[in-house]
């Protein structure tokens, strides 16, 4: 009778050990899976944002809109006369930018002293958008005048 009770106790002990072991195992697997999923999502988002930053840098140094003073490129400045010409380009002519700026919308807005805006490229889309504003000086070569504005870049990821 006593041996049977001892065996039952030992069996209960083994079962408890197994339960705790499987609980730890399941906890570990769930934790690792969620951690891996998080990491994968983070990597994917970072990769997309990296592509967006590459597009932004291409826009910042785009000769089609950048200021040139006596042949030298002026960083952080866009030329108003180039913006106005770019704005007039028919959409068909802008197709060459499709590979350079995929799923991208580029606008330039003058905010000081008065407000004005130019649509440079792209059409609004649905989905997650990466918004990247860059303050710039806008050069008016006719009046030799600089105003303050923003290049607004929206990349749809």
């Amino acid at each position: 009778m006593r041996a049977r009770k001892k065996a039952q106790l030992q069996m209960g002990e083994s079962i408890m050990v197994l339960i705790i072991f499987f609980f730890l195992l399941v906890f570990g697997i769930v934790f690792y899976a969620s951690y891996s999923l998080n990491q994968a999502q983070k990597k994917s988002r970072e990769h997309k944002e990296l592509i967006a930053i590459q597009i932004v840098q291409k826009v910042q140094f785009l000769p089609e809109i950048q200021c040139t003073i006596e042949g030298n490129e002026d960083y952080n400045c866009v030329d108003m006369s180039k913006l106005e010409t770019f704005d007039l380009l028919p959409e068909g002519k802008k197709r060459i930018y499709e590979t350079m700026f995929p799923r991208t919308v580029i606008d330039v807005k003058q905010v000081y002293p008065d407000s004005k805006s130019w649509h440079i490229y792209g059409t609004e889309l649905q989905g997650n958008m990466y918004y990247y504003p860059i303050p710039v000086a806008i050069f008016n070569p006719v009046e030799d005048d600089y105003t303050f504005g923003v290049i607004e870049i929206k990349v749809y990821l």
Binding site: L24, F31, Y112, P133, P135, A137, Y146, T147, F148
Partner: protein
Amino acid sequence: MKRKSQIEIMGLLIIVMMVSLLLIFALRSWLSPAENPSERQRMRDIAASFVGAMLNTNSGCMDDTLFSKVLIDCARKPGTGTNGFVCTNGKHSCDFAHDALADMFNKTIDVWKYPYDFKVVAPNNQKINKLSFSSANVGDTKSNVIVFIQPLPLDTSGFRTMQIFLCVGGKCPI
């Protein structure tokens, strides 16, 4: 009997160690702040480009007066209210710069909802109160702040300089 209990204690210790390791690993990954390098890059770009573009802008104070000249004039005699420039609208350089900067911030970084702190420091560490701006959401955080500093010479010798601080993401550490 004694040996069996020793083995059991060792087993228990191993389990406790494994669970502790797992918990430390889990806590570390949950508690560590999520760094977003692209967000920091964006804040850095905004700070540097804002100051660079603002200084190159024609102020409108007088014909052909860049904003940098208005700020330099304000920093030469801050606080006196009788600076060299009197703009075409009758305002002194510091007042003119205050209004123009407020307009620029309202239409840009305020709209983008980034916390920011803007300060102009004249020689002898004299902060120009009229040219201090910060967003409502700036808080008190001084860590993880992008600090952009632009020095400007106040005279041709270059010994006297003013400094423009634009901090994005929190308060300037000055």
